[in-house]
């Protein structure tokens, strides 16, 4: 039984033709980076893991998380968190309500409020609970989105080009924060990017997806397979 996220011989097919194939394990606290040109199917891989594969795509293989096969589980029961390049904060909810949406049910109101306040404080956004998310800066939104995801208590974290919309200065800062939080919570992280700097900063294995359906693994350490 492995801890962490395990992709076992996962093949994504488009219209019946294989698009990409990945067979890899991500240990808790480690980051696997998937790189490749746009349109190669990186995001589709993430969609397969979250259980939201778009129409027209099929997949074979299995996804295991924390020792459970989640390949056929409903999307909301997988406990796989994801962050996109856009913050995707719910525009109709306040910052606090966005965080509350992530928080699993249970606990007293005061208790929940305290957890939300603490989460905001953790990323330097004390007192932001009542704010309209649309009035936040890009960096602030990214931080709220991260904390919302973490409050939902996921067992793995997927990142879909998460920093590409941020300017250079902010980018390093937010990246640092995301990886720190993931590491401290011992979350396996799978990041899709086409930015070499992101891949470098992640410090884990790197898979480069090519046109020929081949999978190349490089990086500091090879995975133990």
């Amino acid at each position: 039984m492995h801890k962490g996220l395990s992709l076992r011989d996962v093949t994504i097919l488009k219209g019946g033709l294989p698009l990409i194939r990945v067979d890899h394990e991500v240990a808790p606290g480690e980051v696997l980076t998937v790189m490749g040109p746009s349109g190669v199917g990186k995001s589709t891989l993430l969609a397969f893991i979250t259980g939201t594969l778009p129409a027209g795509f099929t997949a074979t293989g299995a996804v295991w998380l924390e020792g459970h096969d989640i390949t056929h589980a409903a999307a909301h029961q997988r406990r796989v968190g994801i962050l996109f390049q856009d913050d995707l904060l719910f525009p109709h909810l306040s910052v606090g309500a966005n965080l509350a949406f992530g928080l699993p049910p249970g606990g007293t109101r005061a208790d929940r409020q305290a957890r939300i306040d603490a989460a905001l404080a953790e990323v330097g956004l004390e007192g932001f609970a009542a704010r309209d998310p649309a009035t936040l800066s890009g960096g602030q939104k990214a931080r709220v989105a991260l904390m919302r995801m973490l409050l939902s208590d996921p067992c793995a974290l997927l990142l879909d080009e998460p920093f590409s919309r941020l300017d250079a200065a902010l980018r390093a800062q937010v990246r640092e924060m995301v990886f720190d939080r993931a590491r401290s919570r011992a979350l396996p992280v799978l990041m899709v990017t086409h930015d070499a700097e992101d891949a470098q900063a992640a410090g884990g294995d790197i898979i480069t997806l090519g046109d020929d359906c081949a999978t190349q693994t490089t990086g500091a350490r090879l995975s133990h397979q």
């Binding site: 939201t52 778009p54 909301h76 996109f84 719910f90 949406f101 699993p104 995801m149």
Partner: protein, 564 residues
């Protein structure tokens, strides 16, 4: 769990609500058309109904009226909309016209027709304003304007209502056609604005708006309420004559009505086929025109005329509403006085209570039908989303089908059939009949915004461990509040404006503002018509105002939804 089982049923239920009454009604029309009406002691098959129909001296003219007014109204309103869009989209004048026309979409056909009649009749407001000063008339000229034998007034009544409809449909299509850049490229190549638009954008836009254009053609050819108010009577158009035959005390006329209904259906199908041929011809000519390289010297003139026509069309409805309002408060108002001798509340005191009662009935039906249509629509769209179904163009045509079958072809048959089944007349059958017309518009109104919703919001919410139902109720529907309320308002307006469905299926017992207003047409009491027409317009317009107001209030502190 039960909801999960219910959801897949909703698309099937929707199709049944859409097509069931149409199919049943056509069946109920075919039988008597071939002489089979056992309840009246008549058994078929026989061709006598058609023999009687073709023996009616008024038929050639009635058919000509149906086809002529329908085709003319469609061609003119489509031309106005296309040329205005070509010449002016993106300009301030266009936005002004758009703002002027949008609310007119909700004005019921009957109210617009009454307003137009009050305006353009020889004793109408325009003649009053110009007389005797400009015209020298101290009594109205003996001119056949309203109810003219050629159906021109009726055509105008249809145009002023179809222009806003086609314009809004076109605006929706423009968004997907990348129009601005195409025109800019064409202009850079030396093309005039109109010519450039017609050569580069029109083909794409027309492909998108083709179904609604067909709906306009089918509707205009078979309209009843507008024809009753503005159309000729010597003879009337075929659809009006069908309704007259339906209500003839001599039962055998029902057979003739059924035969006429099938003829009406045939005419619409034929006209659509000819229209399709026309499209191909225009396409062929258009290709030759495009390769000719003509840059469009007359463009400014064409654009000017189109804008003028569009503005006149919008103004006609507005002024019509204004003159209806004046009549509703008028004391004695002789010709050629521009305004009544005195303004009085007497008319409202007389007719107000009656309108309130009709308003209650109208609202009850409209709210129920619009809500049912909304639930079915959201159910279909959500099922499509959850089960990853891609909707083909063919399925879209299914939605338009009930709007393409002339009302006079299936509603009379539906009435006969319902009676045979022992179904009681009254509100519920009327609601089901309304649903046939309301559902497509609610669906078409909501489908685009619903599908355009960023599905990553759903992925995020699911990753936050929200179930599909929770995502729907807590994220998707609140975010789509404005389009949902707009779709609801569209549904309400369509239901409020229904005339024939209410009249025939309600068995006369269901009195809505529209049936009451059209019933007043024969009496020509302009004060009463003014009161009912205004109430009818209000009933259709207020929901649109609320659809704008409520999201603005609810989301007043949510900048991200202000333009959603």
């Amino acid at each position: 769990m039960s909801r999960r089982r219910l959801l897949p049923l909703l698309p099937a239920l929707t199709l049944l609500a859409l097509l069931g009454p149409v199919a049943a009604g056509l069946w109920g029309t075919v039988l008597p058309a071939f002489g089979h009406l056992p309840a009246a002691g008549l058994t078929g098959p026989s061709l006598d109904p058609f023999r009687d129909l073709f023996g009616w001296a008024g038929l050639p003219r009635a058919v000509m009226l149906s086809v002529g007014t329908g085709v003319l109204a469609t061609v003119i309103s489509l031309s106005i909309v296309m040329l205005v869009t070509a010449g002016w989209s993106g300009t301030r004048a266009f936005r002004a016209l758009e703002r002027l026309l949008s609310p007119l979409l909700a004005v019921p056909h009957a109210a617009a027709a009454f307003g137009l009649a009050f305006l353009i009749a020889p004793s109408g407001w325009l003649a009053r304003l110009a007389s005797p000063g400009l015209t020298g008339w101290d009594q109205p000229p003996d001119l056949l304007i309203v109810q003219d034998s050629w159906g021109l007034a009726m055509t105008a009544g249809l145009i002023v209502k179809e222009v806003p409809f086609l314009l809004l449909i076109t605006l929706a299509a423009l968004g997907q056609a990348d129009a601005q850049r195409s025109v800019r490229v064409a202009q850079a190549l030396g093309y005039g604005r109109v010519t450039g638009w017609l050569k580069t954008v029109f083909p794409r836009v027309y492909a998108q708006i083709r179904p609604p254009v067909y709906v306009v053609l089918a509707y205009a050819m078979s309209v009843v309420d507008v024809a009753v108010i503005l159309g000729p009577n010597t003879p009337p158009s075929l659809s009006v004559q069908i309704v007259k035959w339906m209500s003839h005390p001599d039962l055998s006329f029902r057979l003739e009505a059924a035969a006429g209904a099938l003829l009406q259906l045939g005419l619409v199908i034929g006209a659509l086929a000819v229209w399709r041929l026309g499209e191909m011809t225009v396409a062929a000519l258009g290709r030759r025109w495009i390769s000719s390289g003509a840059r469009g010297k007359a463009d400014p003139a064409v654009a000017g005329v189109a804008l003028l026509a569009g503005s006149v069309s919008a103004l006609a409805v507005f002024l019509g509403l204004v003159v209806m309002a004046i009549w509703s408060f008028a004391g004695f108002w002789g010709f050629p006085d521009a305004l009544p001798d005195e303004m009085t509340l007497r008319n409202w005191a007389r007719f107000g209570p009656g309108t309130l009662k009709a308003l209650g009935e109208t609202a009850l039906i409209a709210v129920t039908v619009a809500l049912v249509a909304l639930v079915l629509t959201i159910g279909c769209l959500e099922a499509e989303y959850r089960h990853n179904i891609r909707v083909s163009q063919r399925a879209v045509w299914l939605l338009y089908l009930p709007l393409l079958i002339p009302q006079t072809a299936f509603l009379p048959g539906l009435q006969t059939l319902m009676l045979n089944l022992g179904a009681d007349v009254g509100r519920v059958p009327v609601m089901l009949a309304h649903l046939v017309f309301v559902l497509p518009y609610v669906f078409l109104s909501l489908a685009d915004p619903f599908r355009a919703w960023d599905a990553r919001m759903g992925v995020i919410a699911a990753a936050l461990r929200a179930s599909p139902d929770r995502i729907l109720w807590r994220v998707r529907l609140p975010m789509l509040l404005r389009p949902i309320l707009t779709a609801l308002a569209v549904g309400l307006a369509v239901s409020v404006g229904q005339y024939l469905a209410t009249l025939l299926i309600g068995g006369g017992r269901v009195a809505t503002l529209t049936t009451e207003a059209v019933a007043l047409a024969s009496g020509a009491d302009r004060r009463a018509i003014g009161v009912y027409g205004l109430m009818q317009t209000g009933a259709a317009l207020v929901p649109f105002a609320l659809a704008l107001l409520i999201p603005a209030l609810v989301w007043r502190n949510r900048k991200g939804l202000r333009h959603a």
